[in-house]
């Protein structure tokens, strides 16, 4: 059964009009219809965080939202983070510097969470515990989180982490 729904939204600043099957989730819509494959699916039941995107600036699980629910909203995906000329965002730069990614599958979700954290902290320096709590909704099987935490500490931390 196909239940077509027209939607209008912006994705990474670009206005999009599309017709979606109502049961299609937002992550599938981004990946399949818009070919924005940087949003990854790791569990499709809302736990792993690989599909984290921003909806009107607030993080959300792309697998726990229907595409039709994005109607009228502004979505930001990993493809919208670096500059158009390819210059990396400082969060991305820091992740590379601190070896905060290995296989890279969880990385787009991690970046989106860190962008929201930066926005929410409103310039306040964060403790390592606060950073670890903020990242706890993004599973990573490769890094043991250390490189990710170190990257966030460098950018948002109240103290620089020990260089190991």
């Amino acid at each position: 059964m196909f239940d077509p729904r027209p939607i209008k939204l912006t994705v990474n600043g670009r206005a999009i009009e599309a017709v979606v099957d109502s049961r299609m989730n937002l992550a599938d819509f981004l990946r399949r219809d818009l070919k924005l494959t940087g949003t990854h699916l790791g569990c499709e039941h809302g736990v792993c965080g690989a599909c984290t995107i921003l909806v009107d600036g607030a993080s959300a699980r792309g697998c726990l939202m229907l595409a039709v629910q994005a109607d009228g909203h502004a979505i930001t995906t990993i493809e919208g983070v670096a500059s158009a000329d390819g210059t990396l965002h400082r969060v991305q730069e820091a992740l590379s510097r601190h070896h905060g990614l290995q296989c890279g599958y969880c990385t787009p979700g991690v970046v989106m969470t860190l962008l929201e954290l930066d926005q929410d902290r409103e310039g306040r320096a964060l403790s390592e515990d606060e950073i670890r709590e903020a990242l706890s909704g993004n599973l990573c099987r490769c890094t043991g989180y250390q490189g990710i935490v170190d990257a966030a500490m460098e950018l948002f931390g109240s103290q620089h982490s020990s260089q190991t």
Binding site: N25, A60, G137
Partner: protein
């Protein structure tokens, strides 16, 4: 793991949503979707119609009122978490919401969705039980107001009829000098609770306990309110109070967390929560 087919409805008025709910067979209401969407993806839920409440503005209210804090059922958990007023008027709700999921799910998860779903591991129903929050239920037939004690009936089961939804919840204002605590046992901080305790204590001017309430999650299908009126007049909570309180209580259990274990944890958490709430009430009194 893709959702099964359904027909999607996006009413903008509450009455339209209620009409759809009354008319359509095998319909389900979509609130924040943080529980329903996994169920759809896993195909353990298979509604023919999905009624999205996300476009109904009147359900999104968050306001302080005479008796406390009023949350529309579609008010997000994140808004409640970030509201300074909630912390002042209803500190137990603030305490509880800090334990709910991750920010990515609190951004979309709603107060009404969590309270209606009644997952035994969810925090908000336990807080609602301890405070006996007031639930306004709406259907085409009209509105009715029920205390949480009548609302929650068992495992994932509320008193909602198939044509009804939760419209709003009134979280009672904490009396002056109240101390609160929400504690939970889980394996990782953001997980659903295995066992949770919500308590609110109010002191007399002389430092003795005037009123107290306490609810437990994770021991029975629905949040369990325990009678701790025996504490009235006391100044402290004696060691073993939790154990005494729970003696002989029927408790659910499974292989991973057997009843015996849950009761042990519950008695520990009760002791700790009461101590914390008492200490907080005292510190408020001394300000």
């Amino acid at each position: 793991m893709k959702a099964p087919a359904f027909t999607y409805h996006a009413p903008t008025q509450l009455k339209d949503a209620l009409q759809l709910l009354a008319d359509l067979p095998n319909a389900r209401v979509l609130a924040g979707g943080q529980s329903l969407m996994p169920m759809l993806n896993l195909r353990v839920a298979g509604p023919d119609h999905l009624i999205d409440l996300g476009h109904i503005e009147e359900l999104k209210a968050l306001q302080s009122v005479e008796g406390g804090v009023l949350t529309g059922s579609m008010c997000t958990q994140r808004r409640v978490e970030r509201s300074p007023e909630v912390g002042e008027i209803c500190p137990l709700l603030r305490d509880a919401i800090r334990h709910v999921g991750h920010q990515q799910t609190r951004n979309r998860g709603t107060i009404g969705g969590s309270v209606s779903h009644l997952d035994p591991g969810a925090e908000l129903p336990v807080a609602a039980a301890a405070l006996n929050a007031t639930i306004t239920i709406a259907s085409l037939r009209g509105e009715r107001i029920v205390p949480f004690s009548d609302f929650a009936q068992g495992y994932l089961t509320s008193c909602l009829e198939p044509d009804e939804i939760v419209k709003q919840i009134l979280w009672p204002k904490a009396p002056k000098g109240a101390g609160t605590a929400f504690l939970e046992f889980n394996r990782r901080p953001a997980d659903f609770a295995v066992v949770s305790v919500a308590t609110q204590i109010v002191l007399e001017d002389d430092g003795t306990i005037a009123q107290s309430s306490l609810a437990l999650g994770g021991v029975q299908g629905a949040p369990l309110v325990l009678d701790i009126s025996g504490l009235s007049g006391a100044r402290t909570v004696h060691e073993g109070f939790g154990e005494d309180l729970l003696r002989g209580l029927d408790c659910d259990g499974d292989e991973l967390y057997p009843a015996e274990f849950r009761l042990e944890i519950a008695s520990v958490l009760i002791g700790r929560a009461l101590s914390k709430a008492l200490a907080q009430a005292r510190s408020v009194a001394h300000v």
